[in-house]
Symmetry: C3
Subunit: 331 residues, 3 copies
């Protein structure tokens, strides 16, 4: 009996089972059947493999960007002395990495010192006499620490005196036309190297077929010079659908997007950057706060007698963010 049981087990394990099939020798039915099979094969090869490339792995890009702005400007307005501006003056930060700011407009408050002055007049700072001002109080809407005195701001208004960097900045006097209007003609050279680490692929946005003499004189133009890495700021802004002079007054953020989506199959062979431009901040939404783009910085000086003074600059301008993206498919 045991021998019989083992043999039965062996039979189960090593018997070959196959469905009985019925062959219908009808050409019509057969054609329909083969055509259906063909559709399945076409779907797998054509769509899954060729279109979607589902057999491929993907990898994200590692990118390095350097930028170099070129150009100068001259300003001669009633508010300021005539002044010449070069790269060291208007590009902040100066290092030229993947985000750079070009100053286009500003409110300058020179010769500020640590001292006392009456507040700018607004409902919470106007006063009649010293009783309205609290010593040591700091109003979050104000500009300094109150000293407890009520002083003449002008012949008509009295405001609480504050300890602060005086004179206070009056940032409502922003020029209506951008001070550095000629910044639209500045150019920027963008150098971008990328690596797909998984596939050991390296590319740079200065393409192999471009020579040095062309690079010295070219300027990006989507139609005529799509591979030139030198961009005129006005063109960048207008490609993003904006007007440079409008944007220059209150500032903004502009994205320079470099798309390196590559297909590394041998028959594809191409891996070129595609440039596009988009304004990244909101222009005129109904709900906004602090529209445009600005920040404050100061240059610090020392007078002969060792006192620290500063020039406060509320800088308006366009921040250019170079954004590199792309996924690659392997070799």
């Amino acid at each position: 009996m045991t021998a019989g049981f083992c043999q039965r087990c062996l039979h189960y394990a090593f018997d070959y089972e196959t469905p009985k099939t019925l062959v219908i020798p009808n050409i019509g039915v057969g054609c329909v059947f083969r055509f259906t099979q063909l559709l399945v094969v076409l779907y797998v090869v054509g769509y899954v493999c060729v279109v979607q490339k589902a057999y491929q792995e993907t990898d994200s890009v590692i990118s390095s960007v350097t930028t170099k702005v070129k150009g100068f400007a001259f300003t001669n307005t009633s508010d300021m002395d005539p002044r010449f501006w070069d790269v060291a003056d208007y590009v902040i930060p100066s290092q030229g990495d993947n985000s750079f700011f070009v100053l286009t407009n500003m409110v300058v408050t020179p010769n500020q010192t640590q001292s006392r002055c009456p507040e700018l007049p607004n409902p919470s700072t106007t006063c009649v006499d010293d009783c309205d001002c609290i010593e040591g109080h700091s109003d979050p809407q104000g500009n300094g620490i109150q000293t407890g005195l009520c002083e003449n701001y002008s012949t008509t208004a009295k405001t609480c005196e504050v300890l602060s960097w005086c004179p206070l900045e009056i940032d409502t006097k922003l020029p209506e036309h951008a001070l550095l209007a000629s910044a639209e003609n500045f150019t920027v050279l963008i150098k971008n190297s990328i690596t797909y680490p998984k596939f050991n692929v390296h590319r740079r946005n200065i393409l192999p077929h471009i020579n040095s003499s062309y690079l010295k004189r070219c300027e990006f133009n989507r139609a005529t010079d799509p591979d030139c890495p030198i961009f005129r700021l006005k063109n960048i802004v207008s490609e993003a659908g904006e007007e440079f002079q409008d944007m220059a007054v209150k500032g903004g953020v502009l994205g320079i997007i470099i798309d390196w989506s590559c297909d590394l199959d041998w028959w594809a062979g191409k891996c070129y950057p595609k440039y596009s431009f988009r304004r990244l901040d909101s222009k005129h939404p109904v709900n906004n706060v602090a529209p445009g783009y600005n920040f404050r910085f100061a240059k610090y000086y020392k007078t002969q007698d060792g006192e620290e003074t500063r020039t406060l600059i509320k800088a308006y301008g366009i921040r250019f963010d170079v954004i590199v993206f792309g996924t690659v498919r392997p070799e």
Copy 2:
């Protein structure tokens, strides 16, 4: 024979084969069979499609961040003159991009000049006479190039003289309480616009239902104002499980994480940012070096006779990194 062979081939190519099936007309067995099929269908539709959304492509986010800190502080300690601090003084870098630093504590070394002074005393710099000091030697643990002289550092200690920015910084005198303790009440406005390029989806963290007057007075609170983009620094730090005043003394790095993981299926419709906060550096690990976060920078001045002097500042403070991430699923 050839004709017969061809015909056989044709038969093989266009015969329709189908398995012979056995139909068991038993309701019980049939129910079990259909129930099994139902489970498979439920798995595919319910889990793969609805839960995992495996039919969807995904895309990574392109993000643009601007930040603007607001607030001022007043310091009056025995070490320094009374001083008023505003944004231009304590926010570094001033541009307000996705990483900003708020100064909370510092060691200031004013009036440094290129000159000679005795080293700070430590085992490798103390000397008895000039023979212990080697001209031109630069000790990696030291602060300058030795001149070969042994000078009095104090009445009790003699150290090698060095060429350096003198007087040397004594960074052991870090204030125990953060100098700019009131930085906890500063606020920061974070504006974030995102784009999913593959799906042409644009969103910003100022949501459509928020109006400008609300934005002027609101403050982020996870319970009551979860959509307000204005954050009080103290709250950010406490949401990350830290104490602002502790962190302000030696500095640290704090992540403001904005999660834009969106589901763009038409019935989902929502794509809101979710804010979270995490301390990114290590607080008190057993193994650490240079805990906290600090860096040195200098303000350069020129004296009347053209000599360069500088004020060296070892700045301690909190670096806030705005980190945006998210993957989207398509429309």
Copy 3:
């Protein structure tokens, strides 16, 4: 008839269909059949699950980097006064985030003021008399706004006078040997914390088994100290296959790549950073423009009588970009 129809429908719905199978009780054929099945199982378990881990989800890394450079240098060349350089002088920006620049060479133009001076001689700026210079004209290749006068640049050359920051920078006088050649011995401490938000995994590059005393004296070496987060600049550059002194003359961009690709299966347990180094800009391609890495910045001063002067520095050096990447597979 209706009852019969319903019954037939019911039969279709709940009949159990199964193919008729043919059992071939042949050990040889059975073995081949089972072996084929085994191959399929091995492929699914061995390749898809174990090698490709296709059952796992993946997640991208969120990273925070702080860097701190240490070292000082002394320069004594004929062009400049002897000068001592420390971190605050040569690291730009000073904050120490994931991209820092170490100054190695420079062209310094001190005492520039807003004034007038003759242009640097080149074909488009040389002139014979005032008629060759157009008042208000700004040549894109030039350095300022022409005043319309033709002045002596030297005893042999006359050039158009320009309004600019004068004296003009002569950047052809770049030192042939890097001024801060000793920068090769500077060290940098890199602290990197990462988070995989989907899996709540946190890691830092100071590994748990490293103690503080080791951190104070160690230096990265791929063979002997692969986990030490302190890197000597010379070694970083040489690991990238470059020569520090060559690169220091004209500058460059160097990537410090930290790969956190982790496998979080319980039996894997390890999640260590792997460091690699790569030069990210192009060294000597046939087609290049503005090779190396440099940027201009200025230090602003005020003279006793309130006039603004500046020292313009064309800074050449090595920008180190810390690039963190990695995908994780879940626990």
